[in-house]
Each structure stands twice: as structure tokens, then as C-alpha cells.
């Protein structure tokens, strides 16, 4: 027999001024199952909670209803109080008689009547509540970082430093990512390689970090604390354990006409190559599309010359399975393709380049050894025009609707560096707005203008065309309300950035949600910015939204902190209000799994007893309580009603409906 206790809160005058709380408590005393009903000024106060605890003990209550403020406010408080008094915390229901009653109604009779109904409704529900236990699941103390750019590197280092094993899966042959391609970094202008490569080396040398380069995530199963990941190790045709990085193969390789992707295709590279000098791992890789041996079966020169016998043309993709407790996604970005922007003449003119290409042209390790020479004829450009917002803030459908965030700063950086290194160069920048929030950022931009004399033009370029070997940049100067044409030698486009396309596959594997721009969605824009809605999956860097290096690194460290917090636990407490399938009624039709956003439902074959000693094997759904978030989508999809949600069961909700309609 149920023994329900009801506690009506006055909330000072917040409730009591419009709801006759004493009358509510009195009326409710007559409800079947109610053995105790009381009212008090502040139920949430220490004394109020004491009252509840005492009543639970004295009256042997099996469930309680608190008529008070919104459950979003104090449900946790009252659950804790109940637990302390020895009552299962899930035997508590809140009737919201403040926000949903006293605060919105003026008439006391009306509000009192409604309060009674709301309390009755909560009683109807609590009568069907079942004691729930938060489940536990073990945590595998190892993290996976997808992406070996600065975000992945930072996250991995922080996690590893806390003593946990980390694997970095990087799809390219080396870690380092976009930052490795950069020349200098704003606003301090330190050399990118100088600050990044030590971190890369740290990763390689860290005993807790395992770098799986040239690898991709193929399959993810499991859930927070218990991910099961299949990783494809792509064939690099070079034995990683043997290669010493001596580069003799690169010298001897006869197929030298491949595009050096690390240098944005600005110079050629051999079929067998190490992406760049400080690559980690410092191991060669063969591009099978370019390799003569792999394409025709003839050649094999590199193998001949390799002193350690590292070359293996027979190598195949291999798969490894690993278990992780947490996953950090740091898949990064790429500049968008400029196919939709013919007006800038990118594909027609070698000397119209993207900013990332400029980075390589200015980099000491780049194709021009750091001397700024224009691609077409290798001459020093005298007039350089930068165009900002190329493809950013574009709602016409050609580009991206968002601001790419980093362009203003790196354009200022480029302009400044050029003016410093080649003072005889004229530098123009077309801009719509200059956005420089951040420490020392606006100062940096102003320095470009004030100290280095960069010509900033408020306006946008309408066309870039070639006239007698000169790049004519025609645009508006809005401040002077004129249209100008600048004869330039080099045009640099501040191209919008977009998430690395492979993120879509990763997101699907992880059931992490993605927005219309392919950025991964965070769990809460403000309060949970580094967590994905999928528990145990964290987001670092540009895969979540445009950001610069300092922000990326902060986010990566924040991710690491979250991961460490998770891995530090031996077991995870799980939300007990999760779905549960009644095996006896389940048809195994898979409809529930189709709507589950978390992949919490799997199917098992089970044997059931029929009458007459017969048995039958049926396919039935099984919900992983550690993965289920308790939305209930599956419960409605299930035609047989086998799927139900604990804490919000169909019977509970229907009895609430009944109680409300009973007038």
C-alpha cells in the first residue's frame, strides 16, 4: 500500500499570496494513498527539508510530492533530502505551483483549485514511480584524439601529462596539421614551426602517447567510458619501424612531378616523400597514384636504395581495434574551393593566390625558401593587393554565411611582414570590416596601418583581371565613394575556411551532430562549449567553429580537462531515467534503433519459453543505459509498447493526464 506524503510550500508569499496553501494541504489529505500532508513557509530551507525527512521516517512514506517551485529549481534538493531520509530519490515528484500557478494567476480560488489539481497530478504520477538506481559503467582509461593538428596535439599532451594513455589518429602522414604550414603567428609574430615542432616532438616522445599517422577511424561502437574503435592504418608502403628518415629515396625517386600538398601544390615532390623536414613520424610515404612501381609494376628504385629495407610495395591497409573511455574530435579545417568566385580570377591567374599559399611562399622551408617571389615568373611583386572576406559572410549560396574569424588578423600579419621585409612593396587591403577582438589584436592591426603604412581600403573588389601582364584589381573605395583599379603584381585572397570534409564521416560514426555548415555542434553554446551532445565525445579546434590558434589551444586544453575528469573516475554514474525494452513484448523490428540519436539500442537473440515445453528464439532490443539519454523517441516508435521510459513511463504520463482531466 502506498503511503504518500505531500508538502506544500508557501515560498514566502510567492505562492501563499495567490494559492491558499493551507486549503491545498487540507484538501489533499483526503486523496487516496495520502497519509501526510503539510504546508510550510520555505520547504527548500534547512528546516523545510528537515520537516520532509522527519515525515518520511515517522510516517514511513513510500513516496512524496512537493508542491513548490519548478522542478528545474529544487527537484535535486528534495531528491537529496529524500535520499538522506532513506527514501529512494526517484520517489519524489514536484508539483509546480509557483511558476505554473501562483505567479500567473491572480484569482485565489482559481489558483488554489489549479494547485490542488497539479498536486493530485503529481500524486497520480508518484504512485506509479519505481525506485530507480543510477547505474554504473566502468571507464577505460585511454583517450582517442582524432586529428593531429595543434588542437589534437595540445589535447593529447595535456591528457598524457595527467597520466592517461592517448592515441592520436591522423589521416595524413605526419601530425602538425595546418599550423605546420604557417609561417609566423599573430599577434606576436613568432615562427609557427618554432613553437609547434617542439610540441610535435613531445608527442612523439611521450610514453603515454601513441601516434597513429596515416590512419583513419573506421568504426565506433560503445559509449562514454567504453568506446570500441576500429582504426584503419592506410598502407604507406614504407615500414614505419624501419625507416630512418634519411631521404635517400626522395632523391632517387624518378617520379618527381607530384604536387607538394604540404606547400599547397606550389612546387613538385617525389612519389616517395616525407611531407616536411620536421614531420612526425619522420617516415617516408609513397603516393600510390604517383608511384611508377605501384602503377606499372616497373621501377622499384627506392627499394633498391633504401639501406634498411623499409620499402614494401605489398603493404595493405590494416585494421586495429582499440578501446577508449573518451574521444576528442579535432579534425580541423581547410580553405574553401574558389570555384564559385570567378571574379577574383584565381584559376586563371597564377599570381592570384590564397593566404595559405602565401604562408608557404613566405616560409623559409617553402618552395621559394622564404623569399617572396610570385608564382608566375618568380619575380618580386611590387604591388600586392589583399582581398578579405573571400567566401565568408556570403549568404548568396556561393560561399559560407559565417565569418571565418582568422582572416582579418592573418591579413594584417601578411601585410605587415611584407612591408617589413620588402619596404619597397606597396600593400593594399580591401576590407568590409576589420574584426580584431582579442588581446593585443587591434593594436596589431593598427600597427600594420600606422607603423607599416599598409593601405586599408574600405570596400570590396568586383573583379580581378589580367591586362598586359598586370593584375587589375577593380573595386570600390567606399570612404571616398569612388571606384578604383589597382595595378597589382600579386593578389592574395583571404579565403573562407570550412571544416575538413572528413568530419562528416567522423560525426556519423560518433553520432555527434553537425550543423548546416558542417561544424560539429556543442552540447551547449555557452555552458558546455567543448562537449558534443554525445556523452564522452569532446570537440577541439575549428571542427566546432572558426577559431585562431590561442583559442584552439585553450579549447584543446579545456577538452583535455574534461577528458581527464572523465578518465579519473573508475565508474560512471548513469542517469536512471532511461529507456528499457520489455523483452517479452519486443518484436525486434528495429524501429526504435532507427530513431535513437545515440545508438543506445542494440539487438540480441534470446530464447523464450513458449507453452508446452517449447522455446522460441526471438530478436529483441536491448538498451544500453549508459548511452541512453532518456528522450523517449523510441517509446513512441515502438508499436507494441515494449519500449518504455523509466521515470516517464507511459502509465505515469497517462495517469497524469487522467488526473488533470478529472475536474
Amino acid at each position: 500500500m502506498q503511503r504518500i506524503g505531500v508538502f506544500i510550500c508557501w515560498c514566502g508569499s510567492n505562492i501563499a499570496a495567490t494559492v491558499d496553501v493551507k486549503k491545498v494541504a487540507e484538501t489533499i489529505k483526503n486523496e487516496p494513498g495520502v497519509v501526510y500532508s503539510e504546508n510550510y513557509q520555505y520547504m527548500c530551507s534547512e528546516n523545510g527539508q528537515q520537516l520532509i525527512k522527519q515525515a518520511i521516517k515517522e510516517h514511513n512514506l513510500t513516496g512524496i510530492v512537493v508542491g513548490a517551485c519548478s522542478p528545474r529549481m529544487h527537484e535535486a534538493t528534495f531528491r537529496k533530502a529524500a535520499e538522506e531520509a532513506g527514501l529512494n530519490p526517484y520517489m519524489v515528484e514536484i508539483a509546480n505551483i509557483r511558476e505554473h500557478c501562483s505567479w500567473i494567476h491572480k484569482d485565489m480560488d482559481e489558483a488554489t483549485e489549479k494547485a490542488v489539481i497539479l498536486v493530485r497530478t503529481a500524486i497520480a504520477k508518484v504512485k506509479l514511480n519505481a525506485p530507480l538506481q543510477a547505474g554504473e559503467s566502468p571507464v577505460i582509461k585511454r583517450a582517442l584524439v582524432i586529428g593531429g593538428g595543434i588542437a589534437g596535439i595540445q589535447a593529447a599532451l595535456d591528457i598524457a601529462d595527467a597520466g592517461f594513455e592517448v592515441d592520436i589518429v591522423e589521416k595524413n602522414a605526419t601530425i602538425g596539421g595546418r599550423m605546420a604550414q604557417l609561417d609566423k603567428t599573430f599577434p606576436t609574430l613568432d615562427c609557427s614551426a618554432c613553437i609547434l615542432t617542439p610540441k610535435m616532438v613531445d608527442c612523439a616522445q611521450h610514453e603515454k602517447i601513441d601516434i597513429l599517422s596515416y590512419s583513419e577511424v573506421e568504426e565506433v561502437k560503445g559509449f562514454v567510458g567504453n568506446f570500441n574503435v576500429k582504426i584503419r592504418r592506410k598502407a604507406r608502403y614504407v615500414d614505419e619501424t624501419k625507416c630512418t628518415g634519411c631521404k635517400i629515396c626522395m632523391e632517387k625517386c624518378p617520379s618527381k612531378k607530384g604536387l607538394n600538398t604540404f606547400n599547397m601544390g606550389l612546387n613538385p615532390r617525389p612519389a616517395i616523400h616525407i611531407p616536411f623536414a620536421q614531420a612526425i613520424p619522420n617516415v617516408a610515404v609513397i603516393d600510390p597514384e604517383q608511384c611508377i612501381k605501384l602503377k606499372t609494376g616497373k621501377c622499384g628504385i627506392c627499394q633498391k636504395f633504401c639501406g634498411v629495407g623499409a620499402i614494401d610495395y605489398e603493404q595493405k591497409d590494416t585494421f586495429i581495434d582499440r578501446e577508449y573511455g573518451a574521444i576528442v574530435v579535432a579534425t580541423g579545417f581547410k580553405p574553401i574551393a574558389l570555384d564559385n568566385f570567378n571574379e577574383y580570377g584565381y584559376s586563371d591567374n597564377k599570381d592570384v593566390i590564397t593566404s595559405l599559399e602565401l604562408e608557404r611562399l613566405m616560409n623559409a622551408a617553402g618552395p621559394t625558401d622564404g623569399v617572396l617571389l610570385r608564382p608566375s615568373d618568380g619575380k618580386h611583386p611590387k604591388v600586392i593587393t589583399f582581398i578579405q572576406c573571400v567566401g565568408s559572410r556570403d549568404t548568396s549560396g556561393c560561399g559560407k554565411p559565417y565569418c571565418s574569424k582568422i582572416c582579418c588578423m592573418y591579413t594584417a600579419k601578411h601585410a605587415m611582414l611584407i612591408r617589413e621585409k620588402y619596404p619597397d612593396t606597396e600593400v593594399h587591403v580591401f576590407y568590409i570590416d576589420v574584426r580584431t577582438p582579442g588581446k593585443n589584436y587591434d593594436e596589431f592591426y593598427r600597427r600594420a596601418v600606422e607603423q607599416y603604412g599598409v593601405d586599408y581600403i574600405k570596400g570590396m573588389v568586383g573583379k580581378v583581371y589580367n591586362e598586359n601582364g598586370k593584375l587589375m584589381v577593380q573595386g570600390s573605395n567606399l570612404i571616398d565613394n569612388e571606384q578604383i583599379t589597382i595595378e597589382s603584381d600579386l593578389v592574395v585572397l583571404a579565403t573562407a575556411i570550412e571544416p575538413e570534409p572528413s568530419v562528416r564521416k567522423v560525426a556519423t560514426l560518433l553520432t555527434a551532430s553537425i550543423d548546416t555548415n558542417n561544424f560539429l555542434t556543442e552540447s551547449h553554446a555557452k555552458l558546455r562549449p567543448v562537449e558534443s551532445p554525445t556523452a564522452g565525445v569532446y570537440l577541439a579546434g575549428v571542427c566546432q567553429g572558426p577559431k585562431d590558434i590561442p583559442e584552439t589551444v585553450s579549447q584543446a586544453s579545456a577538452c583535455a580537462a574534461k577528458v581527464i575528469g572523465l578518465l579519473a573516475k573508475d565508474k560512471l554514474k548513469t542517469n536512471p531515467c532511461v529507456a528499457m525494452a520489455d523483452e517479452n513484448m519486443c518484436n525486434g523490428c528495429s524501429q526504435c534503433a532507427n530513431v535513437c540519436a545515440y545508438g543506445a539500442i542494440t539487438y540480441v537473440e534470446k530464447e523464450f519459453r513458449l507453452g508446452g515445453g517449447k522455446t522460441e528464439v526471438r530478436r529483441v532490443a536491448s538498451v544500453n543505459p549508459a548511452v541512453c539519454q532518456g528522450c523517449g523517441a523510441c517509446t513512441v516508435t515502438c508499436p507494441s509498447g515494449a519500449m518504455d521510459l523509466k521515470g516517464f513511463s507511459s502509465k505515469q504520463i497517462m495517469s497524469e493526464v487522467e488526473a488533470i482531466c478529472k475536474m
Partner: protein, 128 residues
């Protein structure tokens, strides 16, 4: 028609949302008639947004616009300055009363590739 109504009317005829303009000036950056225009394409958008239509209605630029649509093509925000100019021109023409082009004056062969709006605006311009 009050001024407010006229503003609304121009906005309606243009079919473009002038508030979408982010004032980048790309339209004016590529306008082939820029030098001849006393009011520049980007100004048409911002001035209409601010309700300064008296100046627009007086402007010579409406007769200088080629209706080449380059500005429409270029605009990253989906604003159509040429449509605004056309709407202003249209308003001016309507205010002038009936002196439109006659049907028999339409050349018998019209190049199908010419944008319709260009043709229509051409009739209006050269028919004063």
C-alpha cells in the same frame, strides 16, 4: 502617395531586402557605369534603407545604369542593387504619366538571351 508609401513601394517593386546589405561595396566595385553615376549602386541600397528617396528620384544615375546585373551577380548577401535602381526608375517613369513605349515600336526580333529586365528598362530609358 505619401513618402513612406513610396518608400515601401520601391522596396516592394525591387523585391530585395535592403537590410541584408553589409555595406561591403562589392557592387560598386564592379559597376561598369560607376563613373557616370552620381549616386553609386551601393548608395542606392543604403539610401533606400534610410528612406532618402528624394535624392534617388532626382538622380541621373538611374538613367546611367546599364542593368548589366553585375552588382546583383556579385553581391555576397543576395541583395540586388540593380533591382533597387530599376524600382526607382520605374517609380520615376510612373510619376511622369503615360508616355511609355508603344507596342509597334518594339523591334520585331529580340535576342532571347538579353535579360528581360534589361529590355524593359531600356524601353523606359529611351522613351522619354
Amino acid at each position: 502617395m505619401t513618402k513612406e508609401e513610396r518608400i515601401d513601394n520601391i522596396k516592394r517593386i525591387s523585391g530585395t531586402d535592403v537590410r541584408k546589405c553589409m555595406k561591403c561595396g562589392k557592387c560598386s566595385g564592379r559597376c561598369p557605369a560607376f563613373k557616370e553615376m552620381d549616386i553609386k549602386p551601393h548608395q542606392f541600397v543604403t539610401m533606400l534603407a534610410k528612406g532618402k528617396i528624394d535624392e534617388l528620384l532626382e538622380s541621373k544615375a538611374i538613367w546611367n545604369c546599364f542593368s548589366c546585373m553585375a552588382c546583383v551577380e556579385r553581391c555576397p548577401r543576395g541583395v540586388a542593387p540593380a533591382a533597387v535602381i530599376e524600382a526607382v526608375r520605374d517609380t520615376v517613369v510612373r510619376m511622369q504619366g503615360k508616355n511609355g513605349l508603344k507596342a509597334e515600336e518594339i523591334p520585331p526580333i529580340v535576342d532571347e538571351l538579353i535579360p528581360q529586365q534589361l529590355l524593359v528598362s531600356a524601353y523606359r530609358k529611351y522613351n522619354k
